[in-house]
């Protein structure tokens, strides 16, 4: 046996440059090897902008060239701890992308004609502000709309829109997470979970988000830590995701049946009495439930337990297994795992069932039910509400709420919608419910990302419906092509924002900053605006909205300017240093003291480290004493922001607003229920919502490294289905939805359950001009025409090499841009949550003669019909008290209570 030396790690064992050396870090140039050519860098921390996790990055600013040379993880960031997924370091591609938009551009021809001229920021700001001023003066506030894709800073646009007095906040949430949010909110008011994975003993995931490392890389790290410490991981997902492949248990049910499985687990826990009765008795509003559902029985906790047992008596493992097409043993195994873990049971769901299915919001509700039963709420190794683990700083000089209500965003048919009904905007505009005079799309691409993109194209090209479209974007997109202004906004290293997300049982605040500006200021340079330091004229939203707001109200007569005046000199616009300086001085507990220990101001500290941990070991916040809080055991406690202050198994709100059948956690039949489908024929369920770990919607098309890794877009099909339908890998297939069809290629794989086919929503980028309008690293050149009463999109050219300043562009070897399948999906708004139900009933057939790869056909008249079919499922407001919407449910840019009154 060879004697292998044992190593003794010493003090030098560090993976990152120590922070005290960040101002003057030297490295040898790898490409000059073997010659030793030294480069000096200024290392400036910032926050990744490629997904919402807000991981820390460290930019290497070359002192000689003044350019960013690379990005690595920021070891001082408490959430990501220096570890990033592929998308973080790929920010370097986005900075140096030869295709990027470097100057503000204004349309000069017809919308979508591709004729642009460069304009100055002054010209753009004056034009846009003038139009907004007129709308506000004429009391047309509701014609101003801000539509956000990638959120930046929590509360920043709340502040801005309140200052304008505009109820115009629109978001991407109802194509993303409204479903899961509704399920969680109905239990606890908080709309999102925060799992303590690292300390868990059993982890249950209903999605492929986490270990896949796409979103939530900080979560993935902690799941791995939990598993290293012995935790079991179970994943419920029809597709064999990276997460599923690393799990101890993978269960692959028919989509939409997951809630039945979760209720079967709940039933088992009740049957085994694996229930934390003390927690339930104290923290569940069982009194309200018994009064509403068993008024004729003794009003006791025991009655409540029996009520639950009675309610779920039919949810045997055998029933749930039959319903989901899985084995009962798998359900029992998961239930045993949860039972054994007790308080150390962590779980997560976000999209998956919640975003795929009609009634999918009940999935999150049934999952949270398991935490309530086991008392694993806010415990070590359990799951907390995310707001406990997310830090929201206060904003300087916050304006009061406005009193407007915009029915284009909050239509009366969807009074419980968790967020704005953004997917319906084209249909509401077509119905004449209003118009939009100034529409900001902010890092958002609804034509490509949303369902029914051709309806978006129709309204965005109709100047009577959308007067002025301003695209604030770091990169070209299909939607920006149809804008009037394309205004270049910075990527992770070119902008200011604060950001925080729940990643563990603690709270942190990250600071995104323009690294060239910060490095320049350290050298003694001064900058009026961030675009003076960024590449070209690339700007940031913070300063953009400060300046825009000022120009809407230059004399202060509209009452807007005062919110954007410098506190030191009111004749000037507030600066970013003043704005963030106030925030860090006044609203981040502990930061001023920590900064003072290093003889820094709080702002200097955040500029130096890029992040600050406010607290950790945050557990059981609901138990904290609170004056006026919910009374438990004779004293006031913080509790939960529900109507009762406790967790609500029974929802009076759902009952009162017409959803009696869904007032407790239950299993609702999905619109893609497999028993209703012609599975013996060629009908199947299309699962179109899964992610690739290396891409991010429309913002990674400018990252060559990421597309070199991910550039294939097949339709996943189980061999059983492939045999039955006669498909081989690589064969072209026509997939027909309710409003059209698309053509792609088949991939036979055991990684998807029979009866379900799947295609990622991360590919399928296109452009209408050979040399502009979208990234040539990632998009196909297409032609759009009208044919047979609908829209036809046909690829003229796939991805290929092109000439640019970057020699890599001539070496592109991949060709497949994928297929923009979302164009062929009608809107499916869930009548309760408002969430778009993404899954589709599709017919599969061999491609027909004349079909080409990437062909897409859509009939938007049919899509409007389907919108109306789903509209017919709603139970419109007003509800109790003549309210448009319950006051207690979260709402972005919440107006004053009187705005909730539906009036006469």
């Amino acid at each position: 046996m060879t004697d292998i030396p044992r190593l003794i790690p010493g003090g030098e064992l560090v993976a990152y440059p120590p922070a005290e050396m960040w101002d003057n870090w030297e490295e040898y140039d790898a490409r000059s090897w073997p010659n030793k050519v030294k480069h000096s860098y200024q290392l400036v921390p910032t926050t990744c902008f490629n997904c919402e996790s807000a991981c820390g990055l460290l930019a290497y600013v070359d002192k000689e060239t003044g350019d960013v040379a690379k990005f690595v993880g920021n070891p001082a960031h408490p959430g990501s701890r220096g570890r990033n997924c592929a998308k973080g370091p790929a920010t370097i591609n986005q900075v140096h992308d030869p295709e990027r938009i470097l100057h503000p551009m204004k349309r000069v021809g017809k919308r979508g004609s591709g004729e642009w001229i460069e304009v100055s920021w002054d010209e753009a700001l004056d034009d846009i502000a003038g139009r907004m001023r007129k709308a506000i003066q004429e009391d047309r506030h509701n014609e101003i709309m801000y539509h956000v894709g990638r959120p930046g800073e929590d509360g920043f646009m709340d502040r801005t829109l309140k200052a304008w007095g505009v109820d115009g906040h629109n978001s991407h949430t109802n194509i993303c997470s409204s479903g899961a949010r509704t399920g969680y909110a109905m239990w606890m008011g908080h709309d999102r979970p925060s799992a303590d994975f690292a300390n868990a003993k059993f982890i249950l995931l209903l999605s492929s988000h986490l270990e896949t490392g796409h979103y939530f890389n900080p979560h993935a790290q902690r799941i791995m830590e939990g598993m290293q410490a012995g935790a079991k991981l179970a994943t419920i997902d029809p597709r064999l995701s990276n997460t599923a492949s690393m799990s101890d248990i993978w269960v692959s049910p028919y989509p939409g049946t997951e809630a039945a499985m979760l209720l079967a687990i709940a039933r088992l826990l009740l049957e085994w009495d694996a229930v934390d009765h003390d927690f339930m008795r104290r923290w569940v509003d069982w009194e309200g439930a018994v009064a509403a559902k068993a008024s004729d029985r003794p009003q006791t906790y025991e009655t409540f337990v029996q009520l639950m047992k009675d309610t779920y008596a039919g949810y045997t493992p055998e029933f749930a297994a039959e319903e989901g097409g899985v084995k009962p043993a798998a359900i029992i195994e998961i239930a045993r795992g949860i039972e054994a873990a007790g308080h150390r049971f962590s779980s997560h769901t976000w999209r998956s069932i919640g975003s795929g299915n009609l009634g999918g919001w009940q999935g999150a509700r049934c999952l949270w039910f398991l935490h309530v039963l086991t008392g694993s709420v806010g415990t070590v190794g359990g799951t907390s509400p995310n707001t406990w683990d997310k830090f929201k700083p206060k904003h300087w000089n916050m304006p009061p709420p406005h009193s407007k209500w915009n029915e284009l965003l909050w239509p009366k048919e969807y009074p419980l919608a968790h967020h704005e009904m953004s997917i319906l905007l084209p249909h509401l505009l077509k119905e004449g419910r209003g118009k939009v005079d100034v529409y900001f799309s902010r890092v958002y691409n609804p034509i490509w990302t949303n369902p029914d993109g051709f309806s978006w194209l129709e309204v965005l090209t109709d100047e009577d419906l959308v007067g002025l479209h301003v695209a604030l974007t770091p990169t070209w997109s299909e939607t920006a092509w149809f804008a009037d202004y394309v205004l270049p906004m910075g990527v992770a290293s070119e902008r200011h924002d604060t950001q925080s997300y729940a990643t563990y049982a603690g709270r942190w605040l990250g600071f995104r900053q323009p690294v060239l500006r910060v490095a320049g200021e350290k050298r003694g340079e001064t900058y009026e605006r961030t675009y003076d330091a960024n590449p070209g004229q690339v700007w940031e939203e913070t300063e953009f909205f400060f300046d825009l707001s000022w120009r809407i109200d230059p004399d202060g007569s509209l009452g807007i300017r005062k919110w954007f005046e410098s506190p030191g000199s009111p004749d000037k616009v507030v600066s970013v240093d003043e704005y963030y300086g106030w925030m860090f001085d006044n609203s981040v507990p502990g930061l001023p003291e920590t900064a003072a220990e290093e003889d820094l101001t709080p702002l200097q500290f955040m500029r130096k480290y890029g992040a600050y941990e406010v607290d950790n070991n945050v557990y059981s916040v609901h138990e904290r004493p609170a004056d006026g809080g919910v009374e438990v055991d004779g004293s006031g406690k913080t509790g939960f922001p529900t109507e009762s202050g406790k967790l609500e198994w029974y929802s009076q709100t759902l009952n009162d607003w017409g959803w009696e059948d869904a007032s407790v956690p239950t299993y609702l039949k999905t619109h893609v229920y497999w028993r209703d489908m012609d599975m013996a024929g060629n009908e199947r369920i299309l699962l179109p919502i899964f992610r690739l770990p290396t891409l991010i919607h429309t913002r990674s098309g400018n990252a060559k490294y990421l597309y070199e890794i991910s550039h294939g877009h097949p339709l996943w099909m189980n061999p059983e289905d492939a045999e039955a339908l006669g498909f081989e890998t690589g064969e072209m297939i026509r997939i027909s939805t309710g409003i059209g069809y698309f053509v792609m290629r088949v991939w036979r794989t055991e990684g998807i359950r029979p009866g379900v086919v799947a295609a990622s929503h991360h590919l399928g980028r296109w452009r209408l001009d050979d040399e502009q309008g979208n990234e040539r690293w990632s998009s196909a050149l297409v032609d759009i025409s009208q044919k047979d009463g609908g829209w036809m999109l046909r690829q003229k050219k796939g991805i290929g090499p092109f000439e640019s300043d970057d020699p890599d562009s001539s070496r592109i070897w991949w060709q497949d841009a994928g297929v923009n399948q979302n164009l062929t999906f009608p809107v499916h708004p869930d009548p309760v949550s408002g969430m778009h139900a993404w899954h589709q009933r599709v017919r599969l057939a061999a491609a027909q003669e004349g079909d080409r790869y990437g062909d897409i056909f859509v009939d938007t008249a049919k899509s409007h019909e389907i919108y109306k079919e789903w509209l017919a499922m709603t139970k419109p407001g007003p509800g109790p008290g003549n309210l448009r919407r319950p006051l207690w449910i979260h709402r972005p840019v919440k107006p004053t209570p009187d705005a909730y009154d539906a009036g006469g």
Partner: protein, 260 residues
């Protein structure tokens, strides 16, 4: 302490490295060491890797001896063992750092030169044929497992962190320098030079008069053209380290052109 698949994998690799270390010490390979020792600094002269190796070793409290193949392989064995121990002790941070350093060591300080040296030694030293081939195969397996340098489209594209291959591409250089360094595309032993020239020579260095001899230049060109083809084959068989071998193929072709 408990066993995990990650610990088992690292422990197995530790044993592989230890075998390489034991087999390729200077003492047990007198002939080949007399010709061209198995050490990066000699296979690619003018490259000072000592400080890089020492810096990496110092962080782990490891003392390097000569920096030859046996020495750096033992360091890799120790890093793999440290990783296995750390996984077993639930210390994921330490395990990851040990893994990262071992991967870097393999990618930057061992595989790129040791595989060419071993393959050349297996051809020039019949007694070593089996051992050298088996060791090269073991290194190639490790390269596949860790994907040390995947074949990519060009010579830029994605590079592993810190990986710098054989130095800048397209350096013309003198023919003598190219022959004496792997930088030129091949490991050339003294025995190789004897074979090329048909002359008994004392030093591992071509003589200046060779380059005025058209026939001899032709022999050198052929030697390098064959070498380039071998590298291309190796790259196809081992895509996990293909970028190294494609790079060497290009360098060998350039040397052949210069020789012509």
């Amino acid at each position: 302490m408990h066993t995990t698949p990650a610990a088992d994998t690292a422990a197995a690799e530790s044993a592989t490295w230890a075998n390489i270390a034991v087999r390729w010490s200077a003492e047990s390979n007198f002939d080949v060491w007399q010709d061209l020792p198995g050490a990066e600094a000699l296979v690619i002269p003018d490259v000072d890797v000592r400080d890089d190796l020492e810096r990496r070793a110092r962080r782990w409290g490891y003392r390097l001896a000569d920096g030859d193949l046996g020495d750096v392989a033992m360091f890799a064995a120790a890093l793999a063992r440290a990783e296995a121990d750390a996984w077993a002790a639930d210390d994921g941070v330490l395990a990851t750092q040990a893994y990262e350093d071992r991967r870097f060591l393999a990618a930057d300080r061992i595989v790129p030169w040791a595989v060419p040296w071993l393959l050349a030694a297996s051809r020039c030293f019949p007694d070593l044929r089996t051992d050298a081939s088996e060791t090269a195969a073991a290194l190639l397996r490790i390269g596949e497992q860790h994907r040390l340098a995947p074949s990519l489209a060009g010579n830029e594209g994605l590079r592993l962190p810190g990986h710098d291959g054989y130095g800048p591409a397209g350096q013309p250089g003198e023919l003598t320098d190219r022959i004496c360094s792997l930088w030129g595309g091949l490991v050339v032993f003294r025995r190789s030079l004897i074979s090329i020239s048909g002359e008994e020579i004392g030093a591992r260095r071509p003589e200046a008069r060779w380059f005025t001899d058209v026939e001899l230049r032709g022999n050198i060109a052929t030697w390098y053209e064959i070498g380039a083809a071998r590298w291309r084959c190796l790259a196809e068989q081992h895509p996990g380290t293909g970028a190294y071998w494609l790079d060497l193929a290009r360098r060998a072709s350039e040397t052949a052109e210069i020789a012509k």
